[in-house]
């Protein structure tokens, strides 16, 4: 008897999806069980990578290039752990959030999305990645429309179409790679690739498709309405995980496939778009009238920070400095995932209790929902990048590296983004606290408030004070 946690992390949610599809009336129990088992399996992958190094599974026993392999190195293990912690929190929250009718639609789609996420983080085959991207895109759009309002349906239809266009561009790149190099496994493609028009075109097509899906400015237009109008747990998943998965894949291709053909111009282009996203997204977040719209625009800005890393990574020679920079970017992505999920879950609580999420009318939310407000505060600390959050450490290291490289303009952009983030977070908090404090109870509905609170706590304290383990994890095959 032998159990391989790599395929298990992808297959368990599929089996769970079957169970909840077949018995829609009792979806919550099996759904939560599948969520628990999936998260346990995925976290065991991370733990195994941590202790034993890179894990690999040849599915079907054929081995590459004929078969498909799954692989977990430090980078995928880190994203996998974050995604599964967040997804588990979202599942617990959703167990209390969705009522009968929407629960029967939520659970199977949610487990399929989860399967796609785990599959994407573990995949090593370029075409298999296309299938996971489509599974992710279709289930995400369907979940986003679950509120059933016209805005939600229209916004998520647009999201679906943009996602399809992105996947098509990615697939065209894959076809070109297969035509030129005759293999699909990432490792084998990386060995075969050499600088030239083929590699550049394939890179432009694949990473171009992914930045559509990652909502990098100016391709962000679809994100705010889609994320702001989805049900709160879905918004959390979309903002914290789904766009992050597209970024992860772009980073993975950049580091592992296209490393030999990288040039500064492409990196600077991505960095410039990222800088524009930081400024524009933060500004729109500051001007947003609704809490969930604010959170969605903040995602646009935070994705921008991640792309600023590309020019820094290209400019830094391999060595300790580059490893630290890479770890900082991953830390930023993970912290943002946790914090943004916490923020959306808490916002969902506010919306459900108050009946709206207009920021100007939030007065007294702190009194009615102390735990949710506290979670917003914690998530805010991590989004702004105040100590002791992981964002603080990550931004600090990126700023330091930018200074060393003399690339001061990235530094200016990151400072502006931080100031604007502080402004939009404090705008929310000042509204929430504008009444005399007479809190009744700190926690009102444990099932929905605790997940938000826990995510906020991990983002601010867990990944900030205890960031060192991330470096150990990334030692496993992610540092070059």
């Amino acid at each position: 008897m032998m159990i391989d946690a790599l395929p298990l992390s992808v297959t368990l949610p599929l089996i769970g999806a079957f169970a909840v599809t077949v018995s829609p009336g009792h979806a919550r129990g099996p759904g939560l069980l599948a969520a628990l088992l999936t998260a346990a399996s995925a976290l065991s992958v991370t733990a195994a990578v941590w202790s034993d190094g890179v894990l690999r599974a040849d599915l079907g026993g054929w081995g590459v290039p004929l078969g498909i392999a799954l692989e977990a190195d430090g980078l995928s293990a880190a994203f996998l752990a974050m995604a599964n912690v967040v997804a588990l929190a979202i599942s617990v929250y959703a167990g209390g959030y969705f009522k009968q009718e929407s629960a029967r639609h939520f659970w199977p789609l949610w487990l399929l999305l989860w399967s796609a996420l785990n599959g994407l983080f573990l995949a090593t085959d370029l075409f298999n990645l296309y299938v996971t991207l489509e599974l992710l895109g279709l289930s995400a759009a369907a979940l986003g429309a679950l509120t059933g309002t016209r805005e939600a349906v229209a916004a998520n239809l647009r999201y679906l179409l943009v996602g399809l266009l992105g996947s098509m561009s990615y697939l065209l790149g894959v076809a070109l790679v297969y035509a030129a190099y005759g293999v699909l496994d990432i490792g084998l493609v990386a060995e075969a690739i050499e600088p030239g028009p083929i590699a550049w075109t394939a890179m432009a097509l694949m990473i171009g498709g992914l930045i559509l899906k990652a909502a990098l400015f100016p391709m962000h237009f679809w994100l705010p309405p889609a994320h702001a109008n989805a049900p709160a747990p879905v918004s959390a998943a979309l903002s914290a995980l789904v766009v992050k998965a597209a970024f992860y894949l772009a980073l993975r291709l950049w580091l592992d496939v296209f490393a030999p053909v990288l040039n500064e111009a492409a990196a600077n282009l991505l960095g410039t778009l990222g800088a524009a996203a930081v400024v524009w997204g933060s500004w729109r977040a500051l001007r947003a009238e609704r809490l969930k719209l604010l959170a969605a625009y903040s995602t646009v800005a935070q994705m921008g920070y991640l792309f600023i890393a590309f020019p820094l990574l290209v400019a830094t020679p391999p060595g300790l400095a580059r490893d630290n920079l890479l770890a900082a970017v991953v830390l930023l992505a993970l912290t943002h995932g946790l914090a943004k999920a916490g923020l959306f879950l808490a916002a969902g609580m506010v919306q459900k209790t108050a009946g709206h999420d207009r920021i100007d009318d939030l007065g007294g939310a702190a009194q009615a929902l102390p735990a949710a407000t506290f979670a917003i505060g914690l998530a805010g600390v991590a989004l702004i990048g105040l100590p002791p959050s992981g964002t603080f450490l990550a931004k600090w290291m990126m700023l330091e590296q930018a200074m060393i490289l003399g690339l001061w303009w990235w530094l200016v952009v990151m400072m502006i983004g931080t100031l604007l983030a502080a402004a939009y977070i404090f705008r929310v908090l000042s509204r929430a606290f504008n009444r005399e404090p007479t809190p009744y109870r700190f926690v009102n509905d444990a099932r929905t408030e605790l997940p938000a609170l826990l995510l906020g706590l991990i983002a601010t304290f867990g990944l900030g004070i205890a960031a060192q383990p991330l470096w150990v994890l990334l030692e496993q095959g992610a540092f070059g």
Binding site: E134, L161, L164, L172, A175
Partner: protein, 97 residues
């Protein structure tokens, strides 16, 4: 690989690229959902056509089965996406009435 096969791969692959471009143009300039879906499906057909072209190895040689399997997967994914998008469109139409 003989010159004839190479020529066929280039010829059919090239027409696949033209299909992708036609689909992309139509996707960018047409607003109605159904037109966008036809456009996306045309783009997909173009990419699949490229893959079928590079799988071709001559009229009397077995073709490369790997791209064929990829295309079959792609066709099913495309019809899934089309059906879902049309259901979105139908829902929007119902809301309008």
């Amino acid at each position: 690989m003989t010159g004839q096969v190479l020529y066929s791969q280039l010829f059919y692959g090239g027409s696949g690229i033209i299909l992708v471009l036609l689909g992309l143009w139509s996707f960018l300039v047409h607003a109605p959902l159904l037109r966008k879906l036809i456009a996306i499906n045309l783009m997909g057909a173009g990419v699949f056509h490229m893959l079928v072209a590079i799988a071709y190895r001559g009229i009397d040689t077995s073709p490369d089965p790997v791209p064929h399997a990829l295309v079959l997967t792609g066709i099913v994914v495309a019809v899934s996406a089309t059906a879902l998008a049309l259901a979105f469109g139908k829902r929007l139409d119902q809301d309008d009435d």
